[in-house]
Symmetry: C2
Subunit: 217 residues, 2 copies
DNA sequence: TGATTTTTTTAGATTTGTCTAAACATTTAG
DNA sequence: CTAAATGTTTAGACAAATCTAAAAAAATCA
């Protein structure tokens, strides 16, 4: 069994290695963990000894199968707790991440299976991220980033790739919540801002915001 | 804010100082914490520095008002989580304590108030223990231990003073659950075993078991 | 290619919570 | 009231996770 700290390292390494199958760099981990490269080096050795990552000096790290499953399990718990907080305790989607950061480390397989059942086996969390099943499998729904769409394109908002409360509150205020149908009406040349219609209303989001809105169409 | 370890010390000191207003001894804390007296001495100094306990060398410790409130708050969280686990996730009363030992350290006042509301503000936990409100107030219902009753006495089971899974499963099997009405039909001279009727059935519990069953009558 | 910059690792401390062994204080018993 | 037993504290070490500063390796650039 891993410590909370080790679990957080595994989770961050997993997220950093998403899509690209390349090794994850020490500095990248340090930045995400809000710690120093020296601390990461120390921890990396420990995780390698425990066979949770493969590591050669100066070569970066990759999760082993065991490490990957451990990481996915923590993510599963995080997302299920987020669903609980929003669906059952009426938190807003911008309020749940930090609490889930703590809850994800509660260690009881039984608890999490029962929570899953209590929530009726949700497939995705309040931010649209998929919830892995207890074997670690999940389908990643194909999406496109809003800033890559063209005028006239339309689709459904099915997730966000940025989870900070200010960003989420901004979307909420604009009515850009999960499942909403949007259509691109204009792309402003000057700065790449995107104008779109949601619910008959025209709104504008900056390129930076558009980048983090995931659309299925 | 305190560490998990500090929180556990506070909670144990609170429990050990219940009823008797005497100072709590180092060795008693060590036993409950499953640690050594030397470690307790170290921690005691730290808690005293933080003004959570009053402490004079060799004199044992007492919680300050701040310390007592901190302890009660952890107990509040523990008991609310136990209610959640039993009422919402269908755990048995003997399965929830260990999980609640972890959940009680989750730090979010908002979370716990919403949980309280979600559970409809329960007054007691699955073992009959009272749940303090957010100001730390709770009524301790008067009770008598089953082994102190006389033949012919009757009353309701309103709590247990022992929370180990084997004990709780034993009671469950005998039908001795919270709220049940019992009447003492005999007390065996030889070993103090108690014979009683529950639900028309006659059953026998040892003196040791009777000691931990709390009766209101 | 050789120099410079960036990235990573090591060396040596620090903090938290723990331990054993030994010293010291208090309580109990004769 | 002294001696033994019990309870508590101190001294010194250790493991986990972190840090700063400096050394070493790799990548980039001229
Ligand atoms: Mn989250
Ligand atoms: Mn999420
Ligand atoms: Mn409990
Ligand atoms: Mn309880």
């Amino acid at each position: 069994m891993q410590s909370f700290t080790e679990e957080n390292y595994l989770k961050i390494i997993y997220h950093l290695s998403q899509n690209n199958d390349e090794a994850v760099q020490t500095n990248a981990i340090a930045e995400r963990m809000q710690t120093k490269a020296a601390s990461v080096s120390d921890m990396i050795k420990k995780l390698a000894e425990k066979q949770l990552i493969n590591y050669k000096k100066y070569q970066g790290v990759k999760l082993t199968i065991t490490g990957k499953l451990a990481a996915i399990n923590i993510i599963r718990k995080h997302r299920l707790w987020e669903v609980f907080l929003v669906e059952k305790l009426n938190f807003k989607w911008d309020e749940v991440h930090d609490i889930a950061e703590d809850l994800e480390h509660i260690r009881s397989a039984d608890l999490i299976e029962r929570l899953d059942e209590f929530l009726s086996f949700p497939k995705s969390d309040p931010h649209g991220d998929p919830i892995p099943d207890k074997e670690g499998n999940f389908d990643s729904i194909p999406f496109r980033k809003l800033n890559k769409l063209k005028i006239g394109d339309e689709g459904l908002i099915m997730g966000v790739s940025e989870h900070s409360p200010p960003f989420l509150r901004h979307l909420e205020k604009l009515g850009l919540t999960l499942g909403r149908k949007v259509r691109i009406t204009e792309i402003i040349d000057f700065d790449g801002s995107v104008e779109l219609t949601v619910d008959q209303k025209k709104i504008i989001v900056s390129r930076e915001v558009a980048k983090h809105i995931l659309i299925r169409h």
